[in-house]
Point group: C2
Chain length 190, copies 2
């Protein structure tokens, strides 16, 4: 069977979004899978920004409902963690029992990135838990690339979280890890 | 009927997590709802951090599966946007068609927070879209408090995203917006 895979990630925010999405779409087809891409629609004008946001939300959810799998780009975005919209989408697909894979183009673990976010100003508390000395928040330390709900949700369903150290100037464009996800998904679904 | 509501948010990372969760649990009961709280379990020792993460992921998903509703604390965490685990959970519950409400204790919109993240170094591109001059990434501008998938997912399902400006020292402890979500959910489910 041919399976449809929803391509989740922050590429829609790139200046060359169309080009970046097209590269992923072509790679998906080359892997024998059917791409479903969040950039692939046009929306009639709406009376407000909020209503435009709702329209995009509705279309993206319809696309996910129509897909059999998700590959989520969890590369850090605007800081420590992944794009929040992509995280919502990964949870949305995991809840439906779809095939789920994820990747990140940053090699550092969530623990390492969180410590860097606090400029190393962390301390081990009385319970052995690492915490920021600035705001007291715990540093998640599960030997994972992002919050355990995402990586746990993927791995517990037989998927994988692929980690690849991309060059900084190719942070959102490097497709090495994405292609690995495609291969794993194609092999499993085939 | 009495409905079960999953209390999603980054409170588990607070130094006084147990206390903060207990406050939300008590408020939920006082609203006539049954709380399901991600801190309420003990996990036997695991051979690795990763396996501990998987165990927590499994329990949290079971809790969500058992619940009829979610109230997600989308207060910014570690930067511009909400806690990514909470975003996964909101998507997970929206996919199941559960009642969904969310709140944030920061009044600034996602647009305002993103511009601040870039220290105001943004410009309008040829298509009228606001972009960072540093990395070219678009500033999401949907008149919402976080990514459109989250707020769109909530509002399109008849829920609401409640915005409250908490004092900075009560950023993760102020329950004003949470209590408003409880009232809305109780009225709708009752």
């Amino acid at each position: 069977m041919s399976i449809k895979v929803y391509l989740a990630g922050p590429e829609v925010f790139l200046p060359n979004a169309r080009e970046a999405l097209d590269v992923k779409i072509a790679l998906t087809r080359a892997a024998g899978l059917i791409p479903v891409s969040p950039g692939d629609f046009t929306i009639p004008p709406k009376p407000s920004k909020r209503e435009l946001g709702h329209a995009i939300s509705a279309i993206d959810e319809q696309m996910m409902d129509s897909a059999d799998a998700i590959i989520a780009n969890l590369t850090p975005y605007h800081g420590v963690s992944a794009d929040t919209g992509t995280c919502y989408e990964l949870g949305y697909m995991c809840a439906q029992g779809k095939f789920a894979y994820a990747y990140t183009n940053v090699a550092a673990s969530l623990r390492e990135r969180t410590i860097a976010h606090y400029d190393g100003d962390v301390v081990t508390d009385a319970n052995g838990r690492l915490r920021s000395r600035r705001d007291g928040l715990a540093v998640e330390d599960m030997d994972m690339s992002d919050n355990l709900m995402m990586q746990g949700g993927v791995e517990r369903r037989g998927g994988q979280m692929i980690v690849h150290a991309a060059a900084p100037e190719r942070l959102y464009l490097d497709t090495t890890a994405f292609e690995q996800c495609l291969r794993l998904l194609a092999a499993r679904a085939g």
